[in-house]
Symmetry: C2
Subunit: 341 residues, 2 copies
DNA sequence: AGTGGTCGCTAAACTGATTTAGCAGAGCAT
DNA sequence: ATGCTCTGCTAAATCAGTTTAGCGACCACT
């Protein structure tokens, strides 16, 4: 790779100047007194030789690598990871930086290894990302340099970027209230573990809180709340069936995420009910399946790409110490209608 | 980041030896005549100081960075990207390497930039990945060093890793034949563009070929073939509806991917037909929704994680020049049954 | 004539590793 | 006593940049 690249010395020689002069010109140093003609010659020589600086050499001296480490617990499991990475990639490119990606798989040994690997490479900063919004403790080793938490917060008060799940909860509840749903709104996806342990999830509690707050203000109570051990389609399916077996049928369902909503759709379909005529459904995440469902599912989007961007911006440009809340936009789709009668 | 790390000189001083000696000991050089005691002292000093070599300095001299570039067209769009990356990450870690990830977004300017960025950082090799299996031409700039194509092939005969779509086609057809389906198998997802232009897709043609070959051998013809402009749920839905409007109802459907199958399920549900009692469905990709559907969808899995691994292995350990075909395992699920009567 | 300042530029040090070339001393044979 | 080899180690060069310190020429001023 890059066997015979021109070096700065080559450029200098061709320009008939010293390495010092060439270096200063190419770095656009202010206050140097090199003549306009010298500038020309250096630029021309660099151009002709296709000169590109060797960043290893440069960073040896400057201790800057224009490289950011993106350390996450799990890259693959959720399809959102890609968006987080893409946002970070875009923002990094705009700042002439590049991303070194590693994964810890939630394993302490791997984490140790990953962190050593990136520190050895002298990265300029670390983005420490979690795939589920949660609280975590960052390894002490990376605290020597800039760190931004992505989709996570930490007790250390490090800069962090998280989605505004509470706001999303309010949007969801407001959307239903505006349509006239009041006394027959049911919730699918309560989960003690996610709600009570911030190291597992921050989203569940925040979403619930946003929903409750909005409904309380409107003096509306929930018709029913279904607990689910996980937020997967099968649990949404089971929850929906249990709701339908009760005497009073809900007019609207809030699902804590789109996969639960997918399961709920399946149960509704089997029961011969139609969305949204019989029951409205609204949810969280904006997983691609939300748009694919029939009818398309109204939901609040996790702004992962935005978040990835923001993390890079915070890391390189600096910024607020308090957690940066990224809004979750409401996607109004076909699954919403006023209550039946 | 890493402000006051111990250097090799520190280790040498503490061990009472020269940098040369320390370097040789720590790199486990053969044939050096350093005493056992010198070894001890160096190891002890390195341990005590928590010494970690500065890789920028090392690679300046050795031109090795233990870093691989992962350049892909689009990271985020498909949820499979994560698996590709994860496989590569795992294999890289096992070999003490790390991944520098960039995205070209199919844009020539970005591509140029991405490639310069990674070459400037002296990567040891490049994995050039496509998110849809296809043929492509790699930019000349990276041909100076090792390159492996991932999920793609190129006219240059570079080493490449692709899924065995043709084998998957055979598996799918065989699975249906074994169940007794013969004269009423329909196909959803024919697509001229994907089948004819290798730069768009290699999968469509290969899958089709595998299916045809197996059916031909069994002297079975397809009942119907539906063309779809894209492989999205809505197209599967439309295709399924059109199939159901015809006089002879199929006993089994092959969908060219799981998203089409998802759409087909929706149409079947609306028509009041049940899978697999009325109609069997089988597909390609093993998207997570395949397992979430009711009944769960039989499909052939794209082995993305495997492929990511293999790419790193080919790059670092060397290997076959001909394209490395990774098998696509058949996932037998609930959507399969013998024909109705 | 001497002093001081600016201009335009460069030599050399420095970053932290690897690697080449080679030195001092011991042991042995001639 | 001389020459040779082997052992155990080190000085210095090298990689490709950045940065510090400063040099010589020219001009202006007193």
């Amino acid at each position: 790779m890059g066997r015979n690249r021109a070096t700065l010395a080559d450029v200098a020689r061709r320009a008939g100047l010293s390495k010092t002069a060439a270096s200063m010109v190419l770095n656009g140093r202010e206050g140097t007194r090199l003549s306009a003609e010298a500038h020309q010659r250096v630029f021309a020589a660099a151009e002709e030789l296709g000169y590109r600086p060797n960043l290893a050499a440069r960073s040896l001296r400057t201790r800057k690598t224009a490289t950011i480490a993106f350390v996450s617990d799990i890259v693959a499991t959720t399809r959102f990871a890609g968006d987080l990475i893409r946002g970070a990639l875009d923002a990094a490119r705009e700042r002439d930086h590049v991303l070194l990606i590693t994964e810890t798989q939630g394993d302490a040994t791997f984490e140790q290894y990953a962190i050593e690997a990136v520190l050895d490479r002298q990265v300029d900063g670390v983005i420490y990302a979690a795939m589920a919004t949660r609280r975590l403790t960052v390894p002490a080793a990376i605290l020597g340099g800039p760190v931004v938490l992505l989709n996570a917060t930490s007790p250390d008060g490090l800069p962090s970027v998280v989605p505004d799940d509470e706001g999303a909860g309010r949007s969801v509840a407001t959307a239903l209230l505006e349509l006239g749903h009041r006394d027959a709104i049911a919730l699918i996806g309560r989960n003690r573990l996610k709600e009570d342990d911030p190291e597992v999830s921050l989203a569940a509690r925040a979403r619930l809180h946003g929903i409750r707050q909005t409904l309380d203000e409107a003096k509306v109570g929930l018709l029913a709340e279904c607990f689910c051990t996980e937020w997967l389609p099968e649990h949404g399916y089971a929850a929906m069936r249990s709701l339908l077996s009760k005497p009073k049928r809900p007019s609207a369902i809030i699902c804590m995420n789109d996969r639960l909503a997918f399961g709920a759709y399946q149960a509704l379909g089997e029961a011969g009910l139609t969305v949204p005529e019989d029951i409205s459904v609204i949810s969280f995440d904006d997983d691609p399946i939300a748009a694919w469902l029939r009818p398309s599912l109204a939901t609040t989007a996790l702004p992962h790409e935005q978040m990835g961007r923001r993390a890079v911006e915070l890391l390189l440009d600096g910024g607020a110490a308090e957690p940066s809340l990224v809004p979750m936009p409401l996607r109004r789709r076909r699954s919403l209608a006023p209550p039946a009668s």
